[in-house]
Symmetry: C2
Subunit: 112 residues, 2 copies
């Protein structure tokens, strides 16, 4: 009766948000670090600009999936806003992971 699509519409709408959840599921991180980390570990395959990442983090926080707190690093360095998953965020990550696997396999079947 009701549709079973957990990601709301489809994947790919909040796909980048899911990626951020995935990173934060590993450890606390701050925005600038996330940008650099994605660029580095994906060798450019995922190159989200700051203008994408910061708003996405704010949306995730607004939606209660992550929580952030300011950390002073001292000695004139800019303060950082570290984010971590909330309980809702962990659930969303688990669901999103399942959706990603399903979507990935279906897309692979088409693009294989």
């Amino acid at each position: 009766m009701i549709d079973d699509r957990a990601t709301g519409p489809q994947l790919s709408r909040g796909e980048f948000g899911l990626l951020l959840l995935g990173l934060l599921g590993r450890r606390e991180m701050y925005g600038y670090e996330i940008v650099a980390e994605l660029r580095r570990t994906s060798e450019g395959a995922i190159d989200l600009p700051e203008g994408t990442v910061y708003p996405a983090l704010r949306r995730l926080e607004r939606d209660g999936l992550i929580g952030g707190n300011w950390v002073e690093v001292g000695s004139g360095a800019p303060r950082r806003r570290y984010y971590r998953l909330t309980l809702d965020g962990e659930r969303a990550l688990a669901d999103g992971r399942k959706d990603w696997l399903r979507f990935r396999d279906a897309a692979d079947a088409v693009l294989g």
Copy 2:
């Protein structure tokens, strides 16, 4: 110097368009058929509504990646618009496939 991202911005922006190219790379198809085919073969993992597919096909045609032609089926059945890849479309599919693989692996590394 220049960025090497073939899919314009990132993947996922035109990700569904790429999926359509992938399908049409196999054989000629018409919109209604594509909707049903995706739903069926992906077992619901990709469930693009008509309101997504038809405009996407028109964009791809507008951009010269696919070409469509009307086919009368006869006996009162609605006519169908069959689409096939253009040469530009085949190139875009080949590029998009590479991007997809890179993106997929990077996302798997994060979500794995």
